[in-house]
């Protein structure tokens, strides 16, 4: 295991700014996959929307760097260590090692099952910044497992709301063959049902140029024979979806994994001080800030919020504070973790890759307590049984 200590020091350089009381240092460990296949060069170059654009540590570090004044003023300190894991077992032992070394929190940028293994291996709060799996917020939820990255359900609810606001209610659903695509298609259909949209046809697609499979592979053939307002494509890989817009038989928009995509962030977002955040990230990482980077950055902001709220805190005090904390993620609203499944409630951005076209929740949508809870599994659905 490789440990990189990205130390974050506290300087009491201002004579009356730093309280004299001994401050505790909040230690956190970020666990990422070793030789991460998502970060292979050719994969990164394609820059599919919703896919990682680089290492998660960069986003966390930007947040910690910009928090220096806040930490000084509160007399608090945060240190971040980074660990890598080559398997589910090594993720588990990395988490246990971090716990032994005195970490207060663990950040994970790992596949869903690895994330769950980490949550079960330690008694610490775990901030998930890499796995959008709905199962982690539902049947496999854990009391100390928190999610900064939006769930698949939040993404599909955001798309469904946008379609409602545009009155594009008849949908052609195109779904890939992988088990992940099948799962995400079920999530999309739950959102479609929740917002009263209609699937006129659902068809499987295959990435192929084989003339014998043209019914499965040719966008013109796949999109013929039905009347619809939009095509919703579920393609976790991204290559088929990228080639779909402007290749449909009817002149209709594509949504889902290409065309209009729902994400936590886009570097072109213009409101609420977002350009400054994207610019700071670009300066530090030399690449545009993706939605994954935003989740990592927000995890760093969460560490800052905890350290400054309870500067003398113990690991136990920080774990308690986490459930009640609220963070400013430069999306114009205060964001907090849902009590029922640990998911961070947040605004979603709808992007075509060039700019931010819309935001969800859409205007005019009502909710009994918090309109942000119209995105993702809501409390009355009782999908997470774990007591928090």
């Amino acid at each position: 295991m490789r440990w990189i200590v990205l130390a974050f020091a506290l300087f009491a350089m201002l004579f009356d700014a730093a309280p004299s009381a001994a401050a505790a240092t909040l230690k956190a460990t970020l666990i990422s996959p070793e030789n991460d296949p998502r970060l292979e060069r050719t994969r990164l170059e394609r820059a599919y929307l919703g896919h990682p654009g680089g290492p998660a540590a960069e986003g966390v570090q930007v947040a910690l760097d910009e928090g220096s004044f806040e930490l000084e003023a509160a007399g608090a300190a945060v240190t971040l260590s980074a660990a890598t894991a080559r398997s589910i077992d090594s993720a588990r032992s990395a988490a246990q090692a971090a716990e032994k070394a005195g970490a207060a929190l663990i950040l994970t940028d790992l596949p869903g099952d690895w994330t769950l293994a980490v949550a079960d291996a330690v008694k610490l709060p775990v901030l998930n910044i890499g796995a959008p799996d709905d199962s982690l917020r539902q049947q496999d939820c854990r009391p100390r497992l928190y999610h900064v990255l939006p769930s698949e359900r939040m993404r599909s609810d955001a798309i469904a709301q946008t379609l409602v606001s545009r009155k594009w209610s008849k949908l052609l659903l195109l779904v890939g063959a992988s088990p992940l695509d099948q799962q995400r298609s079920a999530t999309a259909q739950a959102s479609i049902k929740r917002y009263g949209l209609q699937v006129v046809a659902s068809k499987p697609f295959k990435l192929s140029t084989d003339p014998r499979e043209r019914d499965l592979a040719n966008p013109l053939l796949l999109t013929a024979g039905n009347a619809y307002d939009a095509v919703w494509v579920v393609d976790s890989d991204g290559e088929f979806a990228r080639g779909l817009p402007y290749r449909t038989v009817l002149p209709r928009p594509v949504v889902g994994d290409a065309g209009l995509v729902a994400l936590a962030w886009h570097a072109q977002f213009e409101r609420y001080g977002a350009p400054q955040v994207s610019r700071r990230f670009f300066k530090a990482a030399k690449r545009p800030m993706t939605d994954r980077d935003w989740a990592a950055w927000l995890a760093g902001k969460t560490l800052l919020a905890l350290a400054t709220a309870v500067p003398k805190g113990s690991n136990g005090a920080w774990a308690q504070a986490l459930a009640k904390t609220s963070v400013d993620g430069s999306k114009g609203v205060n964001m907090s973790f849902r009590a029922w499944d640990g998911q961070l409630r947040q605004t979603m951005l709808l992007t075509d890759g060039q700019g931010v076209i819309a935001q969800a929740p859409i205007d005019g949508l009502l909710h009994p307590t918090d309109v942000l809870d119209t995105l993702g599994a809501d409390a009355p659905e009782k999908l997470c049984k774990a007591a928090r």
């Binding site: 201002l14 004579f15 009356d16 700014a17 910009e66 928090g67 004044f69 806040e70 000084e72 003023a73 509160a74 001080g273 400054q276 610019r279 700071r280 609220s326 400013d328 114009g332 609203v333 205060n334 918090d370 309109v371």
Partner: protein, 326 residues
């Protein structure tokens, strides 16, 4: 349709006649900056009609009057302050302010410009005569509001990310205190007696009131608007009346302006204005309040004694700052 239109028109004619008959209004002009037009919109104070526009530097944001009664506009994209003569509508000169200046204030003698540089996370001191940078003080990320004390000795700068007000000694350029305030502090106003600093906190739906004597937090005022949830109440712009008895606070996405009794720290009136009420300015008689609405590209004129909106004037794209010159 015709009868309705006639009715509407007679009402509006009546209203215009009323404005004209109220000839007591002072001569003057309301200037509005807009982020996406690179121009100031001029509105006649008496008729409330648009008189014209003045081309400016790029992405003009904060707008103020200098002690010599010239308009000073900070431009984020051009990185300059445009100094405009309200008498001629012509730019007199442009003063470099560094990268991405947002808000600024002037020393009481008008010689120094204090500006928040969003990209560099710094408060920059600029010599207004030469345009030379005198000092740069590092502050928390995304510095925004800038306010100088009446005696010019202290400078207050908000950091939106750190949720702090930095208190800076203008002589030494040192941060003497960091005051923790509500989330995303934006703009500030000092009571005319100099005793209290009011800080609007956008994500805290409130104002943090800070003592200028010891820089402790005296109180937090939270706004409530019927039908709006706390997270939709995002205060930004603030102005005090000349006698210091009342504060006017624009409530952002709640689309209202709050009239606040300063001594009681209580809201007395809420006035419905346009979308995302941003910055506010009073005329000299303090009978009218001008509110810029960032998301409906217009300006609402509020009748202060009646606490009622009386007119909406379309201005440039994403209007930001407003100044009244009489």
């Amino acid at each position: 349709m015709r009868p309705i239109r006639t009715a509407t028109c007679s009402i509006c004619l009546g209203a215009i006649a009323l404005w004209f008959s109220a000839g007591a209004w002072a001569q003057g002009t309301v200037y509005v900056s807009s982020e996406k037009d690179d121009a100031l919109t001029m509105i006649d104070l008496a008729t409330l009609a648009i008189k014209g526009t003045i081309p400016t530097c790029k992405r003009g944001r904060h707008l103020q009057l200098t002690p010599e009664r010239k308009l000073m506009l900070a431009c984020s994209d051009s990185g300059v302050a445009d100094v405009i003569d309200p008498a001629t509508g012509k730019s007199l000169r442009r003063i470099p302010l560094g990268d991405d200046p947002e808000a600024f204030d002037l020393s009481p003698d008008g010689r120094t410009i204090y500006v928040s540089s969003e990209d560099d996370a710094a408060a920059v001191f600029v010599d207004a005569a030469t345009g030379k940078k005198i000092k740069e003080v590092k502050v928390g990320q995304e510095p925004e509001g800038v306010k100088v004390s009446a005696d010019g000795k202290l400078l207050y700068v908000t950091s939106e990310v750190a949720s702090l007000v930095h208190v800076i000694d203008t002589a030494s350029g040192k941060v003497v205190k960091n005051v923790k305030v509500g989330k995303r502090p934006r703009r500030m106003a000092i009571t005319p007696d100099g005793k209290e600093l009011w800080v609007t906190c956008e994500l805290d739906s409130g104002v943090t009131i800070v003592s200028t004597a010891d820089h402790s937090v005296l109180a937090t005022l939270k706004f409530e608007v019927k039908g709006a949830r706390a997270q939709d109440i995002t205060p930004v712009g603030i102005q005090m009346s000349g006698d210091g008895k009342r504060a006017y606070v624009a409530l952002g996405r709640a689309n209202h302006v709050a009239f606040v009794d300063v001594a009681a720290r209580k809201v007395t009136d809420l006035v419905l204005v346009g979308k995302r009420a941003w910055n506010v300015a009073l005329d000299k008689s303090e009978k009218r309040l001008f509110v810029v609405n960032g998301l409906s590209d217009d300006l609402t004129v509020v009748d202060v004694p009646g606490a009622k909106p009386i007119k909406t004037v379309p201005v440039g794209r994403v209007p930001y700052g407003v100044v009244v010159v009489e």
